[in-house]
């Protein structure tokens, strides 16, 4: 009998029942909840007079709406200026209270972006099925869990039944061979993958990221990669469990207790694809060929290497694709064949569930240390992913490095990734951003987003335009 993939194992171990027509009932171990996609779910539960199936299998935090300035955050929920945002955050607090759900409120020192705090706390564990009303839930797959985004109706469904009705996806292996070059990061790796397979390349698949270059990544690096699986169309991305995974989980607040640790570890170490596992599709890349990436357009697939130019739509054979590229360049206010390194920037954002963890901040700090933000940069924000990341960064003196250089050191939250709070781009402004989406208007009405790694964003902050961070001294 053919071997199983990691996805097969995760799926099968959670199968409650096969239903009609290829659908199945899958058990969900953990649901993360935030303030934007849950109010209607809780309201539905209330109206139907239902209780959560298992309140303790849920964990909540407000992250999308929260302000990131220290002065506003000093006042807790009352510091939220936008009345509609305030209602939404207060609703989450009230709902979690009513339904007995654990919440890291805005005042909690452990509070932060949901996909940062979950793994950090040891709540995300290998072998789990994890959902959240947020497409970047794929992040948690880095720890060998099956994790994906869902809509609000399914949030309510999981609250009420602890299950999802689902159809099993196909298996894709993205194998990155060799070694990433100096200055080339997990973010560049995943942007290169999306550039290769496109924003719908993974639709209908769960992607397993493998190969030596992926194995060589730290757990935080793997989270960056899995975070953007959805940008390639795959709802979930997974990485096999190895020594790094086990090491990462040791001693975290919610990690298994001493008595259960050995049993858990032993189960976790089985979480990898069998040697003879069958994948429906295999994509291979050579890590050595990957340069620092910069997105130039309005979709994560519109990326180029730092040493290259913005493509010329006229050279694109496929008519539809040519049209997409033309439209993107008009929106971005960019000309074909412009050198990526000549793109001038207005703002810089270092943050988001993709890149706001301690390793990301260290990388950015190392680049800006002793330098100053360029004159043409109106604002450069550094938004740590959680209170604990912020505290650790401060302990290491990273905050001082950023502030000295003229960047702003903020409180945790989703911030300018999707600009639901006051951290927004002005119309027509170009931003070097460590986030995950460059859609039209994503970071603000008329805003122009360029997706890059933390070091690349930091270098851009200090020079005012994109530079090849591999040559940085």
């Amino acid at each position: 009998m053919a071997g199983k993939t990691l996805y097969d194992k995760l799926w099968e171990s959670h199968l409650v029942k096969d239903l009609d027509d290829g659908n199945s009932l899958i058990y969900i171990d953990l649901q993360y909840i935030h303030e934007v996609t849950s109010p209607q779910a809780f309201e539905g539960l209330r109206l139907a007079k239902r209780k959560p199936w298992r309140s303790e299998a849920n964990m909540a935090t407000p992250d999308h709406n929260v302000p990131t300035t220290t002065s506003e955050r000093a006042q807790g929920v009352e510091g939220i200026v936008d009345p509609v945002s305030k209602i939404q955050v207060k609703s989450l607090d009230a709902n979690c209270n009513e339904f007995g759900i654990d919440e890291f409120t805005i005042d909690d020192p452990r509070h932060g972006i949901v996909h940062v705090i979950g793994p950090e706390q040891g709540r995300t564990q290998p072998g789990m099925t994890i959902v959240c009303g947020d497409s970047h839930t794929s992040t948690h797959g880095a720890l060998g869990a099956l994790a994906h985004g869902i809509g609000t109706s399914e949030v309510e469904h999981v609250l009420a039944t602890q299950c999802l009705q689902q159809r099993k996806a196909k298996n894709m292996l993205v194998k990155v061979n060799g070694e990433l070059g100096q200055g080339v990061t997990a973010k560049d790796l995943v942007l290169a993958v999306i550039g290769k397979i496109g924003t719908a390349g993974g639709t209908g698949y769960t992607i397993e990221f493998g190969g030596d270059a992926v194995k060589a990544l730290s757990i935080e690096g793997r989270m960056t990669v899995c975070n953007m699986a959805i940008e390639a169309g795959a709802r979930a991305g997974v990485v096999a469990v190895d020594d790094k995974t086990i090491e990462y989980l040791k001693g975290r607040p919610f990690s298994p207790s001493a008595e259960l640790w050995n049993q858990a570890e032993s189960a976790w170490r089985q979480l990898h694809s069998d040697d003879d596992a069958h994948f429906d599709k295999v994509i291979e890349l050579e890590a050595g060929d990957i340069e620092p990436q910069v997105s130039w357009g309005t979709s994560p697939e519109m990326v180029a290497a730092i040493s290259k130019n913005i493509p010329d739509p006229a050279e694109i054979e496929n008519e539809a694709r040519r049209g997409n590229y033309q439209q993107a360049l008009v929106y971005m206010g960019l000309e074909p064949n412009t050198r990526i390194q000549d793109i001038k920037l207005d703002r810089v954002f270092i943050g988001s569930c993709t890149n706001s963890r301690i390793e990301d901040l260290r990388a950015a700090a190392a680049v800006v240390q002793g330098r100053k933000v360029a004159e043409n940069i109106k604002e450069a924000l550094v938004v740590p992913g959680s209170g604990l990341v912020k505290a650790q960064a401060e302990q290491e003196g990273l905050d001082k490095i950023f502030i000295e250089a003229g960047l702003q050191w903020r409180e945790p939250g989703c911030s300018m990734c999707l600009a639901m709070n006051a951290d927004q781009l002005g119309e027509g402004e170009h931003c070097a951003s460590t986030s995950n989406r460059n859609f039209e208007g994503r970071q603000g009405f008329g805003g122009r987003t360029h997706l890059v790694s933390p070091a690349m964003a930091a270098a851009a902050a200090v020079t005012g335009h994109f530079v090849d961070v591999r040559n940085w001294t």
Partner: protein, 212 residues
């Protein structure tokens, strides 16, 4: 849940590939804690010339005359014709809510993003996948014929054109049944409550650390 049985309506062509859910309903409108009222902000950034604010009256806002929803010939349309990878990006269910609230009952495209596709069925909205060349033909016909309409019959899995020709479409039978009968997913799943409890018990035996 809302049923879908048949829809006879005017077609609105949205000639743009990779329409993401930020385009469908921008972030500021996600602050609402309600399930309704998103229709006025559907495709907000393309539809209006100014920047939309959450909780704002829209009747006075300047309209983009070039946007399809603002063109008189498409007023009252209920069938959205779209291009590939419709609904990509964020999982926000506010996207189908906005479409539904606007009056769209059915979306026809060569392909849909996974999470969006799934969310449609939770809201009585029927997403239909058709071959790219068939969709392109529909775009041409819609463009060339003012008042172009289609008649969608879910039970028969057919789309009837004005000239009497019929297009057949595929749909998973469980999803079809759910839409035709307006079934409540949660009630259906709770019929398997015993199986869920029983799974939970054995899962707890195997992985006790997940239940502390």
């Amino acid at each position: 849940m809302k049923k879908f049985i048949k829809e006879k309506g005017l077609v609105i062509p949205l000639n743009r590939a990779n329409v993401d859910t930020d385009y469908i309903i921008p972030k500021q409108f996600l602050k609402s804690i309600k399930r309704t009222g998103f229709g006025k902000n559907l495709f907000d950034e393309a539809r209006y010339l100014d920047k939309g604010l959450s909780d704002e009256e829209c009747s006075h806002r300047p309209l983009n005359p070039d946007f399809v929803l603002n063109q008189a010939r498409y007023a009252g349309g209920s069938i959205l014709l779209a291009k590939e990878n419709f609904g990509c990006g964020s999982s926000r269910e506010h996207a189908p809510w906005a479409l539904e609230d606007y009056g769209i009952r059915c979306i026809i495209a060569p392909s849909f993003a996974d999470i969006f596709f799934n969310n449609c069925f939770k809201n009585g909205l029927l997403p239909i996948v058709l071959e790219e060349d068939i969709v392109n033909t529909l775009f041409e016909e819609t463009n060339d014929n003012e008042g172009y309409g289609l008649e969608v019959d879910l039970a028969e899995q057919t789309i009837l054109k004005a000239d009497g020709s019929v297009i057949n479409f595929e749909i998973e039978s469980a999803r079809k049944n759910s839409l035709l009968n307006g079934l409540d997913d949660i009630s259906l799943t709770l019929l398997h409550a015993d199986a869920i409890s029983s799974f939970e018990e054995s899962w707890q035996q195997k992985s006790p650390w997940l239940f502390t």
